[in-house]
């Protein structure tokens, strides 16, 4: 398999995420599928940032430790990442700032000559890479023109000088390619998925790793006639969202664990009042502030049990942007169908990782409405039904009152403390949960990859999935990924695991939360591969760990 890895590193504030995206576009133009991992500490300028791009013949969402090209804006990049260099790997660096072997570019001089700003060093390095990798000038020019909104002339001047002086060292061959696709982060794909689900309002308070979902939707609010609101804090976010949903909006919120804590009381209200809302919950390592810009999978148990009392909810955990898009649409639709809160549980790797995205994967826009009131008799917000779903009505509706209530209530929404009505309400919620679980069961909630008769299975979720699939491939293992994590798809999981005699959980946390969930359903997990340093599994990482466990 032809594949290439490129790392570009430098200081925070030097535009390394953008540079990574440009590299992705260049490599896509060469016919590759691309994946971008962006690694940065929580600060605005000065720390070490890097983008790691992997270009492969088929879609991927995992990185390798080894890189073929190391693009260094500063010495630290070389020192930190030299170990990654594959045999024959090339370092492209700014010779005015870095001492290394390889392609040294006199960027300071060049920038001075064309009076380019410092940030154009990225363009210089990219041009050096393009030249070394044998990417045609026209391709590069076209990508730069598309991707650099301001000062393109100066940038091209820099690129021209660099490119003109260089030569091809390690050709990245062109592959026959299909249609060029947009390159989307998980956040963007989630946004598109929500929009395809009919989103009309988005409310959020900024918090890594979902701030960029807020930024993305705010940026495009006009295009989608979307109401985007950033209120005073997460409590307000959740409660405004519930008010908006009551008023007829299809609404989602975005946050991370700390902000989600503040939403849990509102979540429970959503459960009791039966008001739909989608929560995009981006996981980052805790406890507490932890590592704000890194990744983990520690909020599964929390998302499932958050909020006082017991009420149905949906939790989906996509593995990559494509799944994020599709399942965000589903989450919105199911939330509104069942009048429950629904989580899109992502992690930083999914939320901020990027990949080329097939627009054909965007679900058709056909918002699934709640059951509507048929207009006969007196409307009861909580009218009893077999499946526990009461017809929805938003005010205004002449002659009817729509009463929602956080107290235990009767069918009209009036508070009650009667024991029988209490039981009836609890059982209504349970029936609704059962109906939701039944529908989830029909949605292929558990995905299985690899030989169906493999005796060893990697059981995983979220952003660990794609690395598992790549590694498993080499060992002939099966990979099983529950995409829906609540209602827990026990049956589908049992089916997916049938014939396996060795189930190994692969998760990015310390307690193997998915394994615990499975165990509670009587599904045994025999091994655990856990990682909790905030960084995604690289293929080499995981390969070594898998080899240990399956040995």
């Amino acid at each position: 398999m032809t594949e290439w890895s490129v790392l570009i590193g430098g200081r925070a504030g030097e535009g390394l995420n953008k540079a990574g995206m440009i590299l992705c576009h260049l490599l896509q133009e060469r016919g590759y599928h691309v994946y971008l991992y962006y690694d940065y500490p929580s600060l605005i300028r000065g720390g070490h940032n890097f983008s790691l791009i992997r270009a492969v013949e088929r879609p991927v969402f995992a990185h390798r430790d080894r890189v073929d090209y190391l693009l260094a804006l500063n010495q630290e990049t070389v020192e930190r990442h030299r170990w990654r260099l594959a045999e024959g790997g090339v370092i492209v660096f700014d010779a005015s700032a870095v001492r290394a072997e390889g392609v040294g570019l006199p960027l300071q001089t060049i920038l001075r000559e064309v009076q380019a700003p410092d940030i154009a060093r990225n363009t210089g390095i990219i041009a050096g890479f393009s030249c070394a990798a044998g990417i045609p000038w026209e391709t590069m020019e076209q990508v730069l023109e598309r991707e650099i909104p301001r000062g393109i002339e100066t940038n091209l001047a820099v690129a021209r000088k660099v490119y003109g002086a260089g030569c091809t060292l390690r050709q990245i061959p062109e592959l026959p390619r299909g249609r060029r696709h947009p390159i989307l982060t998980g956040n963007e794909a989630t946004g598109i998925g929500l929009l395809a689900g009919g989103l009309s309002s988005f409310i959020a308070y900024p918090m890594t790793p979902t701030s960029n979902l807020l930024h993305f939707l705010a940026e495009h609010a006009d295009r989608y006639r979307l109401k985007v609101v950033h209120p005073e804090n997460e409590i307000a976010v959740m409660l405004m969202a519930l008010g908006a949903a009551y008023g007829g909006e299809r609404v989602a919120v975005g946050t991370s664990g700390g902000g989600f804590c503040l939403m849990t009381e509102g979540l429970s209200l959503a459960g009791m009042a039966e008001i739909p809302v989608v929560i995009v919950l981006g996981q980052r390592p805790g406890p507490s502030t932890g590592l704000p810009t890194y990744s983990c999978q520690t909020e599964l148990s929390f998302a499932i049990s958050a909020g006082q009392g017991e009420f149905p909810r949906l939790v989906v955990a996509p593995a990559n942007p494509a799944q994020a898009c599709r399942w965000s649409t589903t989450a919105l639709n199911l939330a509104w169908r069942y009048q429950v809160p629904a989580f899109v549980l992502v992690d930083k790797n999914v939320a901020e990782g990027a990949a080329d995205f097939d627009p054909g994967g965007v679900p058709a826009v056909a918002p699934r409405e709640s059951v509507r009131w048929d207009g006969t008799g007196t409307y009861g917000r909580y009218a009893g039904t077999d499946d526990g779903i009461s017809p929805w009505l938003s005010p205004p509706s002449p002659g009817q009152t729509v009463k929602v209530n956080s107290y235990t209530h009767d069918e009209l929404g009036i508070s009650t403390e009667d024991p029988l009505l209490t039981v009836r309400l609890q059982e209504k919620l349970q029936r609704k949960g059962a109906a939701l679980a039944a529908e989830v069961g029909r949605l292929q909630p558990v995905l299985s990859t690899g030989p169906a008769d493999a005796r060893t299975v990697l059981l995983t979720w979220g952003s660990c999935t794609d690395p598992c699939i790549e590694v498993a491939g080499e060992h002939g293992l099966r990979v099983v990924q529950p995409v829906v994590l609540w209602p827990f798809p026990a049956e589908a999981l049992r089916a997916a695991l049938s014939g396996a005699d060795r189930v190994v959980a692969v998760e990015q946390n310390t307690t193997a939360q998915l394994a615990r969930l499975a165990a509670a359903e009587g599904i045994a997990v025999h091994g655990r591969i856990l990682k909790y340093d905030g960084r995604p599994f690289s293929l080499e990482d995981l390969e070594a760990r898998v080899r240990e466990v399956v040995a």
Partner: protein, 282 residues
């Protein structure tokens, strides 16, 4: 049938003599009046917190969102954002709006969102059996402060004024006609309207003798005059005895928040086209 009286069949459980009755009557009367003048009743949404005051949601036969303690403002804000044509009325307690959820009150005022906020300010937590609130006077003995509080009350009107509220008034439950007039005025006001209603709590805090003695109606006061509003609002600080003005302190017009979010919903076809175009550009 209950539609003409605006009262549901829910059993009323306020204590005899509770000031909430007065607010209920006033609010009901205003709504009936406005309905008779052409306001479609279904346009009205009542949002309440949790507490004695909040039972209004059970008792009034209008659309309602019986929310949680302290969160009346963000819920109401969401409703107004969803549909700026609704008449959103908030009944909140002083525990609700001044303690648990004070920040939301300030931000609702800051945004000048079109809500009518009625604070049932009995200066005590009623439903949780009598603890001090932020407007209980210094030294108040409640169940969490049996030796008396050691912090002064704040003046909620001062805070809301500093936050950008565009309509500020004070009522008193034993002056029901005025409460009614204030509610009417507040609903009419486009923007954030705030009425601090001094409410008798018959069981845990009943300073009616003091209120009867010290309250007076604002007269000859210009509600467009910010400095005059400040002065009148500061006359009584909720701690020491002083003349207590009732009426509208301040009322000015400013653009309201929810209007900036009016949108015609996008049809599925339009949405699909928008997504396609967007992805093509990306």
């Amino acid at each position: 049938m209950t539609r003409t009286t605006l009262i549901t069949d829910a059993r009323n459980t306020w204590c005899p003599g509770c000031g909430n009755f007065s607010i209920q009557h006033a609010l009901k009367a205003v709504l009936l009046e406005m309905v008779s003048e052409g306001l479609p009743l279904e346009q009205v949404v009542l949002v309440t917190g949790i507490g004695c005051h909040a039972k209004m949601a059970d008792y009034l036969d209008v659309n309602s969102f019986y929310s949680i303690h302290g969160r009346v403002m963000p819920v109401a804000t969401g409703i107004a954002l969803a549909n700026p044509d609704l008449t959103v009325i908030c009944c909140a307690g002083d525990g609700d709006a001044y303690a648990e959820g004070l920040d939301h009150l300030i931000f609702a005022a800051k945004r000048n969102i079109n809500l009518t906020v009625i604070i049932h300010n009995n200066r005590v937590y009623g439903l949780t059996t009598g603890q001090y609130t932020p407007t209980s006077p210094l030294g108040f003995r409640g169940r969490s402060t049996p030796r008396g509080t050691v912090e002064k009350a704040f003046n909620p009107l001062e805070l809301v004024l500093a936050s950008g509220g565009t309509f500020l008034a004070r009522g008193y439950t034993r002056k029901q006609p005025m409460v009614r007039a204030l509610i009417r005025e507040a609903i009419r006001h486009r923007g954030f309207s705030f009425i601090d209603v001094l409410q008798i709590c018959a069981t845990y805090n009943d300073p009616h003798e003091m209120y009867d003695r010290l309250t007076y109606s604002l007269e000859g006061h210009d509600p467009g005059d910010f400095d005059a509003a400040c002065r009148k609002i500061r006359e009584w600080d909720y701690n020491r005895e002083a003349p207590i003005a009732l009426g509208t302190f301040y009322s000015v017009e400013e653009p309201s928040f929810e209007e900036r979010f009016r949108r015609t919903p996008q049809s599925p076809a339009e949405r699909e086209a928008a997504i396609r175009a967007h992805l093509e550009e990306t």
